[in-house]
């Protein structure tokens, strides 16, 4: 090998690297676990459309909030609530005014047993079951709205002794889908059949929005992602018709 050419070679390789970096970057996203299925599909579409890729971690919004405040490397935060992104903006971990609502959460009272939950949710008033599962209202947004619904129907105090609480909405779904809890409050995205747009298995009641506080799921650009083209592109992509179609398909409401 001709060593005189080595500097050129290094420059060429370096340039190739640099261009490939600027063309296709990767962003690390913290995603509320109710958005798991749509996010996987959105990430695939995002990669196809922009060449960038999005690596997602799924978990409870509250846990991500604590992790981000303590220096977690996430660049984009898809929270199931409005509260946490607001706090992150105050504490300076997020890019100011980058917040927007990407989806409206839909709550379902669901059972793995067919025709167990009636289409009007009258079963809640009977209390004829041993366990009702919900996400822990102390930190999970789905738990908060589930409590709203029971409060609104006047059954909260009666049902409280029957509560079993999942750490996040995915675990709550697990309690109900394994039959350990006869019924529970889960996310529509977890039980919807995307081909028919209806609840895929078991039985459920899709709870009207007016029975609980607004369930605005909020996306936010974090400080760590402020310079990453992939993070910026993903924030834009979430508002694109492609993403909105996917979000709608999984039963979420669209931001107005």
């Amino acid at each position: 090998m001709n060593f005189k050419k080595l500097p050129y070679l290094i420059t060429v390789v370096g340039l190739l690297f640099a261009t490939s970096m600027s063309q296709a970057a990767t962003t690390l996203v913290a995603v509320a676990s109710d958005f798991t299925k749509p996010m996987n599909e959105i990430a695939a579409a995002f990669e196809k459309a922009t060449g960038h890729s999005a690596n997602s971690s799924f978990g409870s919004s509250g846990k991500f909030f604590a992790q981000i405040q303590n220096g977690a490397p996430f660049e984009v935060y898809l929270s199931a609530s409005e509260k946490y992104p607001l706090e992150l903006e105050k504490s300076g971990h997020a890019v100011a005014n980058s917040r927007f609502i990407y989806a409206i959460g839909k709550l379902v009272l669901w059972s793995a047993t067919p025709s167990y939950v009636d289409p009007q949710g009258e079963i809640l008033k009977t209390g004829q079951f041993k366990h009702i599962a919900l996400a822990d209202p102390s930190h999970a947004p789905y738990g908060v709205v589930a409590e709203d619904v029971m409060q609104q129907l006047g059954v909260l105090d009666k049902l409280r002794p029957l509560f079993v609480m999942g750490e996040n909405i995915a675990q709550t779904f697990q309690f109900v889908s394994t039959g350990n809890a006869e019924l529970g409050f889960v996310g529509l995205a977890q039980v919807i059949n995307v081909d028919t747009g209806k609840i895929g298995s078991g039985s459920g009641w899709i709870i009207p929005d007016n029975l609980h506080r607004p369930f605005n799921q909020t996306a936010q650009l974090l400080k760590k992602g402020a310079e990453n083209p992939a993070a910026l592109a993903l924030m834009e992509f979430l508002k694109s018709p492609t993403a909105l179609t996917i979000i709608k398909k999984y039963g979420f409401g669209l931001p107005k």
């Binding site: 409870s60 604590a66 930190h139 079993v164 750490e167 697990q174 350990n180």
Partner: protein, 228 residues
Amino acid sequence: MLNEADIATLWLTFKVASIATVLMLLLGTPLAWWLVRTSSRWKGICNALVALPLVLPPSVLGFYLLVLMGPNGMIGRLTTELGLGTLPFTFPGLIVASVLYSLPFVVQPLQASFAAIGNQPLEAAATLRASPLDTFFSVVLPLARPGFLTATILGFAHTVGEFGVVLMVGGNIPDKTRVVSVQIYNHVEALEYEQAHWLAGGLLVFSFSVLLLMYSVLKTQPVAHPLQ
């Protein structure tokens, strides 16, 4: 400071750990003895099964227990058949999960101390016409005392410290299945860091004290060894 709910979780945790430790000693003693003395071809399999929770992530154990003990699972059908209902989200369910999860921490120290006794004391007892049962209670148990101490302390402390399994089969119910490790997690998730610090710090001091106590007592205890 600790509030009422925190104290309830502490109390529940010690209740679970005490009951589970007693059960593990009752179950683990004959099991460890058999594993040491037997030449059965099942020995390897049994050893591996007992040690399995040491290597498996608690999420795996918790998930299998949730499925198996649920209404459609094998154990769940059995307990329903027996009129006990299903075990997840109940106090007995928590005990079953804890026993399975912490059993190696009891069985393995016992195994080691039984093995250290060797054949000689047993043969000596036999020549003095001691029955096997008598030998076990008058010779083996006293010689294996350090092993029992270690087993009790590790079994108890490990049950206090369990988290993943309880989170998966417990359902986080106050006074029934919400143990202190889950409560700490809840506090962190709910951003109540001060509460979390109180409990977490308390647990840290507790765990260290228990281990310190164990190692200082063990140092003064004679190690089990065959008669000269």
